[in-house]
Amino acid sequence: MMLPPSASPGLASALNKRGVALLAVLALVLVALPWFASSYVLSLAIVILYFAYTGQAWNVMMGFCGQLSLGHSLYVGVGGYAAAALFVHFGIGPWLGVWAAMGACMAFGAVIGALAFRFGIGGVYFALLTIAFAEFTRIGFDHWEWLGASGGFFLPVAQREFNDPFNLRGSGRMFYYLLLALDVLAFAFCTWLLRTRIGYYWQAIREDPEAAQALGVNTFRYKMLAVLISSAMTSLAGVFFAFYYNNLFPEQIFNMGRSIEIILGPIIGGLGTLFGPILGAAMLTVLADGITEALRMVGLEIPGVKQVFYGLCLLAVVIYLPQGIWPALAKRLGIGPRDGHRQ
């Protein structure tokens, strides 16, 4: 799999001065947003931040290390169910439950990674293995009575009058800031990862696994590391999902469509870039919502119309912007890297 070089890690080389200034303005807007935005805009922003985060987590595996996972809904589901089960059945709060969620997801990731990488399953086959595991787990949860089976698992609905951050019960504003913090941390973590030895090994494996192996990179260990880090990061999104929406249905959360939603952002935004997942999530969410609004104004409210437009837009981006939107946009805005690299 050949991807153009994107070796310029780190924020300093990813953006020039103008870019950093724009980023500062964006940060200010994001911090101030809940104080002037309507609840509708806020819920939209939460969706964007959510997909920016899951996209960033998925990007670690595919964008950095070149391992295509089409089953990331597995980690969202397992993470969400783990934390929710501890909360509902044992009264253990999400700040402790999140560690259990991470552990459970990393265990799943370890099994998938170990099976695939030990037995040399790569490319399309690896992608199908990840789908198979997600589907397998979905059917399992569909029959697990302790967790509500296919009827769904519910958290006690939050009191929206006051915030209880220790149990993640509270207003949309609280969830917004929580997610924003999560996004910033994930961004910083990924920026740092790309600058470490691990990041360089990953990119070597992505560009040419055999050459990396020949140069002495332990490809098994570093691919496993990518899966473990990505699954642990994704589990946090699952915990957030459970406590924000207060309900979990295996049919929905483990759905293959959810996995595809996770990966659309980074691919549309720009695979392997740090800003791509964020930009992609924002564009897709605004696009989907804009289509809904536009169709409502025209009075075309047949089920399916929205997704057809969505699919057509996707088709256009894939055909005309194969590297994603971010590299093209960064160039256009003049905020691209100084050394002419991608990102």
Partner: protein
Amino acid sequence: MTFDLVANVVIAGFLTGLVYGLMALGLSVIFGVVRVVNFAHGEMMTIAMFAAVALFSAWGIDPFVALVPIAVAFFVLGYLLQASLINPFITRPEHSQFMLLVAVAIIIVNALLMAFGPNARNVQVDYQLESIELGPLLIDVARLYAALTAVVTAAGLFAFFRFSLLGKAIRACADNHLGAQVVGLDVKRLYALTFGLGSVCVAVAGCMMVLLVDVNPLLGPYYTLLAFVIVIVGGMGSMGGALLGGVLIGMSEAVAGLFITPSAKSMVSFALLVVVLIFRPQGLLGRSPR
């Protein structure tokens, strides 16, 4: 639970599995030659199923007759899809091809939703109620005919690839892309032809499938997954493997539905997939990549 019941369920699973096998054969042929994984495969099959339902409910055309015009239409559709959309993507990375076909799949599912609504549709012909008695065994006539049609179609495709000049040219493309270009084959046209032939398999399988199950637009992704499982179990790019995988999955689903619960039946297929991927990643009849 009597032996007769199990035997009947296994036979029904075997016959359904042959139809599954024909569907998967389309995916396998396309992957084997074009090297593109058709992520819109099951969605294409639901188009064929709805076409058969529409022809039946509008003019009462039997699915066994309808399969001829539907197969012709699908050949043209598949040819055009490959020639216009997919050919420019054959040198792109896998994830890019995947995104392209996912977009096509999203459009198909929702266009069907717009056209036919979310409700399940079916066809009702009188021979669906008939069955043949063979001692203790009862065989559904519709299922038997569907399986026979699937076998005949698959045999036709085997013969085409084995004996016709065009089939040989396509196999040459699959064996060695560069070599085929060097000897002057029009690779892009042959790719489009292959995609057209793969689509014909889907069309025939879809027409047969409406005799066995109800169809709704959301079935598409399920059939895509099913086709993948079958092709990996049987061996990507192996024609016999697709049929063998189809039969195995059809029977294991039927038996699992009997012994566990129907809603958990695909768990067995996925377990089978994982086992095959670990112990024989090239599939039961696939050639080793190394």
